[in-house]
């Protein structure tokens, strides 16, 4: 329950500060809001039990990138007035595209992400009402780890006989009644199940990454390193000034030089006699 509230807290704060990143008049403030976004995202990751990722997120994004942004912003002296000249000019087009995006995402959310557990209907080739009635009746028992395997089998047998004979088929009106939906949501709220793989073997985040990163995903690791190499080379190639005025160390020539010839005794005339 607490984690749910924490989720709402972190995500709403992240959204609000993300809006403030682009709306803040002072670039320094917007970088600070960006840091707040990252912190909230790290909180969300912790809620998903991804502790290592949360730490990396903070270290990399806040520790390195955002601080770098802050340096750049403070060093560049960007004029505050210039940035917010043309907000209204781009609003119609941007707003239109944004609305399209929102509608698309809402479409997906409506159809697929609101759970009614329609997945099972395809497998057992039942109507939706039947499958829901099955779920409502059977789910708490199915997810109970204390029950034995024999009981499960029994349940399935009774369910199949019940489904095929169609004795207790529900009407659509009944299904849509608020009582029914309430029941469904209650079941989903109560449902708890045991992940047996976790009970058998506990791995931390770092271990889990380490087990695949250098084995199955070694190729991705190599390509990522190449990308970093390219980024470094690009930054150097675009900013390094090669001029003739600067005196440069010629390593090759230095190594070629014979030390017997560099240090020489010079006899100076006139000092001999003294």
């Amino acid at each position: 329950m607490i984690s749910e509230y924490l989720f709402y807290f972190f995500s709403s704060l992240a959204l609000a500060s993300a809006i403030l990143v682009i709306r803040a008049r002072n670039p320094v403030h917007s970088v600070l809001f960006l840091i707040l976004v990252f912190c909230n995202a790290a909180g969300l990751l912790i809620l998903q039990n991804l502790d290592f990722f949360a730490m990396i997120f903070l270290v990399v994004y806040v520790g390195a990138i955002a601080v770098l942004f802050l340096f750049v912003v403070m060093m560049l002296h960007i004029k505050v007035a210039e940035i917010h000249e043309n907000v209204l000019r781009y609003l119609p087009v941007g707003g239109f595209i944004g609305l399209i995006f929102v509608f698309e995402v809402l479409l997906v959310v409506e159809n697929d992400l609101i759970p009614y557990a329609g997945w099972h209907s395809g497998i057992f080739s039942l109507t939706t009402a039947e499958s829901i009635s099955y779920l409502v009746s059977g789910l708490p028992f199915l997810l109970d780890p204390t029950r034995s395997f024999r009981e499960y089998i029994h349940d399935f047998q009774t369910f199949f006989s019940f489904g095929s004979s169609g004795e207790a088929s529900l009407s659509v009106n009944e299904l849509c009644s608020s009582e029914m939906m309430k029941k469904v949501s209650e079941v989903f709220a109560q449902a708890s199940y045991t992940e047996w793989t976790r009970v058998l073997e506990q791995t931390t985040n770092v271990e889990a990454i380490g087990q695949v990163l250098y084995t199955y995903y070694a190729y991705f690791f190599i390509v990522a390193s190449l990308i970093l190499l390219i980024a470094m080379m690009g930054a150097i190639a675009l900013t390094l000034q090669r001029t003739n005025q600067v005196r440069r160390q010629e390593v090759f020539e230095q190594n070629l030089r014979e030390y017997t010839k560099t240090l020489q005794k010079v006899r100076v005339q006139g000092e001999v006699g003294s």
Binding site: E104, V105, L107, V108, N111, D112, L113, G118, W119, S121, G122, S125, T215, Y216, Y217, A218, Y219, F220, V223, A224, L226, I227, I230, A231, M233, G234, I236, A237, L238, R242, N244, F252
Partner: protein
């Protein structure tokens, strides 16, 4: 001795590994040679050409023809062989024709060539990729090289502007692409192309679709974003607005590279994605690609009419060609894939020829910028003018030349798939685009230029490229069967 975990995987990727090693060695070598003067750049260029050539030889003679590597993140078959060979040929040709340009423009930094090589490597890996993660990583790898290439001429503000523009829009499109990938991963739980293809088998059949209540609309959204990211990268029409600016601002050798090479790799890998993984969701992507293909053909023909600058003209022309390729793509048939392959090969040849010519007309007193600068080329350089005229006729699609064959095959495939309206639109836009191609020929043969340019002597390498490509364009129709056969083989690879 215990075998290495990935021993055989490394064996399958010998050409890429060799190329990676040579790139890294060349990076070290570049740091040790003096950075000023054209002589060291020339040495560097020949070394990189050698490495490209050896990679090509290794690729052709690779004994392993079909394989998955690195836990199914890479695939090797005839399809990848064809596109990789074409890609290496394109990079080789671009590097050859840009040699004297680099020296003349005093772009002595060896990094420029190194970025060309690294982006070629990334595209080799991109063609092979069989997983969304490797696809995205290689696309990022490639575009990072491209940002630097576009901005590589540091003395020119246009080049810097092109780099920034490309960077912003490229980052945006990469984000959209990644969003699409993650949506697909979120709704199916898999990133492998083969796995996705198996999962979605028969999903479009109505009895399966209704019963399984599969989260298809989320998947549609993912495919939509994926397609938009892809169309951004190949400069198809509603997403093309960055292309003319970047192509014009970037140095001409970079423009040649941008317009020839990346399209090969991107089309190859997205052919695989859409045909291998999402063929059963055909209706979700076919209409998007068809619409973009029609729009690209229209934009490519109408917007090019008004262009005065040669590089912008070529940019719009390449947008139009992408439209024809997408038409073949969206046929979703065997003939469609074949037509894309054939079109791509001929497009590479024609673009190499045109850009070799634009780079060859390196004037002593001023830069060749405007279309009107070609005036009276027939008098000053009759052979070059003839070459250019032939290539332009081929691009316009005049019958005996290669360009006609490729366009004909695309329209044939489109008619075979019942896309009558778009095929007719393609023919019409092709007729309209004839206008500006032939206008160039008219300028070359009949118009006096406003300013006279004195051109340098053509160097041997460019002459070789020009001759070879012109030969292919002129006499393709006499013996087209090798290309048709290999294209058929490539297309069969996708029909698993």
């Amino acid at each position: 001795m215990t075998p290495l975990f990935f021993e055989h995987d490394f064996l399958t990727l010998i050409p890429e590994l060799f190329f990676l090693m040579t790139c890294l060695i060349l990076l070290g070598f570049g740091l040790s040679i003096p950075s000023e003067g054209g002589e060291s750049l020339r040495v560097y260029l020949w070394l990189s050409l050698f490495s490209l050539g050896y990679a090509f030889a290794l690729l052709i003679h690779n004994p392993i023809e079909h394989a998955f590597a690195f836990s199914q993140s890479l695939i090797i078959d005839e399809f990848t062989l064809f596109f990789k060979a074409l890609l290496l040929f394109g990079s080789f040709g671009t590097l050859v024709i840009s040699k004297n340009y680099l020296i003349k423009e005093k772009m002595y930094s060896f990094e420029y060539i190194l970025f060309l090589l690294f982006s070629t490597l990334s595209m080799l890996l991109m063609i092979s990729s069989y997983d969304f993660i490797s696809l995205f990583l290689t696309i990022e790898f490639q575009t990072l090289c491209f940002y630097v290439l576009a901005a590589s001429k540091r003395t020119s503000e246009f080049s810097t502007e092109a780099g920034i523009k490309y960077f912003l829009l490229g980052a945006f499109s990469s984000g959209i692409l990644l969003f699409g990938c993650s949506l697909i991963y979120g709704f199916t739980g898999m990133t492998n192309f083969g796995d996705l293809g198996l999962l979605l088998t028969g999903i479009a059949l109505p009895q399966i679709y209704e019963l399984s209540s599969f989260p298809a609309s989320g998947l549609f959204l993912g495919i939509l974003f994926l397609a938009v990211g892809f169309l951004f990268k190949v400069t198809a029409a509603p997403f093309h607005m960055w292309a003319p600016d970047v192509y014009e601002g970037a140095p001409t050798s970079t423009t040649a590279f941008f317009s020839i090479v990346p399209k090969i790799a991107l089309l190859a890998v997205f052919l695989r994605v859409f045909f291998h993984s999402f063929y059963d969701l055909l209706e979700s992507w076919q209409n998007i690609l068809l619409l973009c293909s029609a729009l690209s053909m229209i934009v490519g023909s109408f917007a090019a009419l008004a262009q005065q600058r040669i590089k912008r003209l070529l940019a719009y022309s390449s947008i139009g060609h992408v439209g024809y390729m997408l038409l073949g793509f969206s046929c979703a048939s065997l003939e469609g894939i074949e037509s894309v392959c054939i079109y791509l090969v001929i497009y590479v040849l024609m673009s190499l020829n045109v850009f070799a010519l634009v780079l060859a007309l390196n004037s002593v007193n001023s830069r060749l910028r405007y279309v009107s600068d070609f005036g009276m080329l027939s008098v000053s350089h009759p052979v070059l003018a003839f070459t250019f005229a032939c290539t332009l006729f081929s691009m316009a699609g005049i019958p005996p030349l290669a360009g006609f064959c490729s366009k004909f095959y695309v329209f044939f495939a489109a008619l075979g798939s019942g896309l009558y309206a778009v095929a007719i639109l393609g023919v019409l836009t092709s007729v309209i685009s004839c206008f500006y191609y032939i206008r160039l020929i008219k300028i070359m043969y009949f118009e006096r230029p406003s300013r006279w340019l004195t051109y340098e002597v053509l160097d041997l390498e460019k002459a070789g490229v020009l001759g070879l490509t012109l030969f292919c364009i002129l006499f393709f129709f006499l013996y087209p069967s090798p290309l048709f056969l290999s294209a058929h083989k490539v297309a069969l690879c996708l029909c698993v």
